[in-house]
Symmetry: C2
Subunit: 265 residues, 2 copies
């Protein structure tokens, strides 16, 4: 399914609050959709605790396996913000007070006395890293090799992604079409399997939903080739009509199987 | 931070739709909170694609490292539902049509002809597995060794968790208290670091939020010992008052840093 020229990414969510269930992560969905648009495919994500050894091992495993790694969380001023130190350790470089980062932080505090030692910790960056601007609250993220280190607060992640996007080189973006029908998945399954065989180069995903008392299936077709996508969509519409259903372009996008919000991909 | 008698779990979310950003996963938060209540700590989560080799390798790596593994997704009737076959491969056992599972499916379809071959695929279960009842739509999950295989639809995951919970043996549940204040994190940081040093056995997490134009911090204290938790909470309240703030029990639970809903842990 994955062409050899596919550009891949891994998202590493760092935070006890996600693993305890206190917080529902929002950054993976945002990054996955944003990266997909520029032809970078999130091939895996991991959620790990605020634990030095785990962070170092995970970052080193993932940066060797994927074209890009994006971490979120753990770059604030408190004792539990250990991501920068862990990235330095993973790369075997020192953590240094970064003059450019100090200047960014200074621009944020009217009273220089407010820039206390805890806040200055946010300017401690692994040697050799390139900063990622943070238009929201100034404390920057950074890039070291193929690893991009971002904040945990979704609004800041979104702003930082805007600042770093131009540094990424994607492959052909994966195009998608979603076609839904008020049919049950079990009825559609045999025809869908034949469709996948016929269009081996198109990814065919089937997502049942149950909404407002109505059962249905959203079928997501994905391919880098628009013509193949349209051909598969035509065949799918024919299949749905043959089963007595009515194809709905788009339909319940992102709803039923994940219980939440939706995104374009 | 992790005692040796800690019982750990890994949640493996299987699904291209989560990695493409189409769907925002809801199952990790539910499982993390539910497992936490019975003293099982989710120590890591992974989101992986509907890819045979990746599923087999991930399940084998995780079942060796954690006490329990919970997978979600990929057990429906369509061609892209490959989880059961992958679990069989991971354990080196055959995939067999399970008579008990067939009976469960039969109870769901009024017309026996509706139980077509695609639907019967949902009764193909690795040899030696114990079924997990699905009160919502009958197609069961299953347990093989320390691996629990669940559906992807959140409503079914919740129902299946109710069916399997009694099979788990947890350690001491991690108790938590959240105390918030309208202070900025940078001001609280030095005192919080001293608090963590003083209460090394209590996990002290700091989560800034920005909500309705107001900046604040939620501090989450976690420990298996209620007395230690209360002592740390007392010291934290003192710290907040010393900085001119007013401690708020609970406060913005789960809000600011994850952009979403909240949970008790």
């Amino acid at each position: 399914m994955t062409a050899s020229d596919t550009v891949t990414a891994c998202v590493v969510v760092i935070g006890n609050e996600v693993l305890s269930g206190r917080t529902r992560d929002a950054n993976l969905q945002f990054l996955a959709a944003g990266l997909g648009e520029i032809g970078v495919r999130v091939a895996e994500a991991r959620v790990i605790p605020d634990d030095r050894a785990v962070i170092v091992a995970t970052v080193n495993a993932c940066r060797a396996r994927f074209d890009y790694v994006f971490t979120t969380g753990g770059i604030g001023p408190t004792h539990d913000d250990i991501t920068a130190a862990c990235i330095a350790e993973a790369f075997g470089v020192p953590l240094e007070r970064n003059a450019e980062a100090v200047a960014m932080l200074r621009s944020h505090y009217e009273n220089p006395a407010d820039l206390n030692e805890a806040r200055l910790k946010m300017a401690d960056i692994p040697a050799g890293a390139v900063l990622i601007e943070n238009p929201v609250s100034k404390a920057p993220g950074f890039q070291l090799g193929n690893v991009f280190v971002l904040a945990g607060i979704p609004r800041i992640v979104e702003a930082m992604f805007g600042s770093l996007k131009h540094r990424l080189s994607g492959g052909a973006p994966l195009l998608s079409r979603t076609i839904s029908a008020h049919l049950v998945e079990g009825a559609l399954a045999p025809g869908l399997s034949a469709l996948q065989d016929r269009f081996a180069d198109v990814e065919v995903g089937s997502y049942p939903y149950f909404h407002s008392g109505q059962l249905g299936v959203s079928v997501v077709l994905r391919s880098t080739e628009a013509a193949r996508l349209d051909a598969a969509a035509g065949a799918l519409e024919e299949l749905i009509r043959g089963l007595g259903g009515e194809p709905i372009e788009g339909g319940r996008n992102g709803g039923g199987d994940g219980g939440g919000s939706s995104a374009p991909a």
